[in-house]
């Protein structure tokens, strides 16, 4: 680790906070302490400016026009694709498909890969810690062909039970789809190892990287997976834009996603041929300014340095776990060895929803609920948790405000 990545005074959190105008907002008389980054992150000025700049100086429909604005817009759009290819460690921009976000990326992967490989009796192997967006699309594609969706169990510590995962892998397993970092627990899954195990059985591997992108350098080629999905809005970029990365030869082999303009080569009533990837998967006028904002977010993250971000977030998270651990009746869910930026917990004497309301009164924004991971909530036998999730601009002082808010809530609700 480089010296600049060591936690402590070297990390310029005050300067970083100034880049995010919304962090100056006041909520009920308090400066906002935004601890809901796993749901969505705030945007730095450079991202806001990049998006605005498209509409001010370079907006038109892309790829088709011969006029100067169309050329500018196309250039911005395709430059952003190359930028994102570099950000995730793909060798080629042609492997980067722009989608609305991770949900659409996973739906695309499930639908197109599923139609390509799944037959009756085949299995798709997931884990118990998946977000609904990495469960339901597989059920939708597997059901009609008679394939089954299985889930590998999670240990009490919130880690994937690798032995059980290995036992569930078989020659029937055609696809493995796993979350890189759990949105509900913060667990970092050993994706490289999972890929190796799956590949030994000849299965394709899809990775839900929604939570990983803002916290971790992503190297899709090194991971060895076949698809990797991420969302712009969770990595300080705009909402409504994300990336699905797919291995080139697979993108050529699988059927297209939506039909329409731009995804075709030649349309006839008796036979239509498709454009090569990535255009094959980008029917219709896309989100044109979004990718530009997303590329600016990638610039921003790498400008701060993902290693430095990870180290800073670790400091904040470990401080939060220590302080929350001292609160009587508070139980933290998820004690994985490898964890990122999330602390999920329940309180004996206060329901997550009530706590969320009291914290909101103190200007502290957290998420309460099932975090779109109901099977995981069932696994831990809780209806909901409170989740504090950290980003590159959070501070230990904000953690202190979280703890003070919890103590105030206990004053109200403790019997």
């Amino acid at each position: 680790m480089s010296p600049s990545a060591t936690p402590g005074s070297a990390y310029p959190v005050d300067r970083i906070r100034e880049d995010f105008p919304i962090l100056r907002e006041e909520v009920r008389g308090h400066r906002i302490a935004y601890l809901d980054n796993a749901a969505s992150s705030q945007k730095p000025l450079s991202v806001l400016d990049a998006v605005e700049d498209v509409y001010h100086h370079g907006y038109a429909n892309i790829h088709r026009g011969v006029h100067v604005l169309a050329e500018r817009a196309t250039a911005h759009y395709e430059r952003s694709r190359r930028r994102m290819a570099a950000f995730i460690g793909s060798g080629s921009a042609d492997e980067v498909i722009f989608v609305r976000g991770t949900t659409e990326g996973l739906n695309l992967a499930a639908s197109c890969l599923g139609r390509h490989v799944l037959r009756e009796g085949d299995e798709v192997l997931l884990t118990e810690m998946e977000h609904h967006s990495n469960i339901v699309p597989w059920q939708m594609v597997a059901g009609p062909v008679g394939a089954r969706v299985l889930a590998a169990p999670v240990t009490d510590a919130g880690e994937l039970d690798l032995d059980a995962f290995a036992a569930l892998l078989s020659d029937r397993t055609r696809i493995v789809s796993v979350v890189h970092i759990s949105n509900a627990l913060g667990t970092v899954n050993p994706v490289r190892k999972i890929v190796r195990m799956a590949k030994e059985r000849g299965a394709y591997v899809v990775v839900d990287g929604a939570q990983a992108a803002p916290h971790h350098p992503i190297r899709v080629r090194e991971l060895g997976c076949d698809f990797y999905a991420l969302s712009g809005h969770k990595m300080y970029g705009p909402s409504g834009i994300g990336v699905l990365w797919g291995r080139r030869e697979l993108l050529e082999a699988i059927p297209p996603w939506q039909g329409g303009g731009e995804m075709i080569e030649r349309v006839r009533f008796d036979r239509t041929t498709y454009a090569p990837p990535p255009a094959k998967f980008e029917a219709g006028t896309p989100n044109i300014a979004g990718p530009v904002g997303l590329a600016a977010a990638a610039d921003y993250l790498e400008g701060v340095g993902l290693e430095a971000v990870a180290a800073h977030e670790r400091t904040v998270r470990e401080y939060a776990e220590e302080r929350l651990g001292d609160v009587p009746g508070l139980r933290i869910l998820g004690a994985a060895d490898e964890k990122a930026a999330v602390v999920s917990f329940v309180l004996e004497d206060a329901h997550p929803h009530d706590l969320g309301t009291v914290l909101d009164h103190a200007g502290v924004a957290v998420r309460t609920g099932h975090h779109c991971a109901q099977p995981l909530m069932d696994r831990f036998q809780v209806p909901a948790t409170v989740r504090a999730s950290f980003g590159l601009y959070n501070t230990t002082a904000e953690v202190d405000r979280l703890v003070a808010g919890i103590e105030a809530a206990l004053e109200i609700f403790r019997p």
Binding site: H351, P352, D354, T357, V358, H361, A362, H370, I412
Partner: protein, 153 residues
Amino acid sequence: MISPGGGLADLYREVILDHSRSPRNRGEMAEANRQADGFNPLCGDRLRLFLRVDADDAVREASFVGDGCAISTASASLLTEALRGRSQEEALDLIRRFRAMVSGETEPGDPALGKLAVFAGVRDYPTRVKCATLAWHTLKAALLKTGETARTE
């Protein structure tokens, strides 16, 4: 840092806290002849409501099981008390009035709501309205015998 007065105290009135800590009529009812389940997909809270309705259509007894937040638990608890002796028509009217109050459609102060007026503060918390109405959605399902799980959304 958090003042106990102001908005929070308007939401978490003492009566609500009391009923959430010590819910009345909590438990299954063997002699129930109406029953319904409620589910709030937003927070995952579940509730089962039991009613004993007599031959002349009046609710003799009501009880509930389920865990939820302070608002939804207190709402279910106060509902079981408010319901006793009401006819089906009166109970349906109460549902309408309660929902109108907590969603802010009517001004607080509806005398027909009696003790249930303590939930008036919910109107200032749009994200919590469903917590307050879960038991009431469920009551409607039990009275109308829809046989389906009542959902807040």
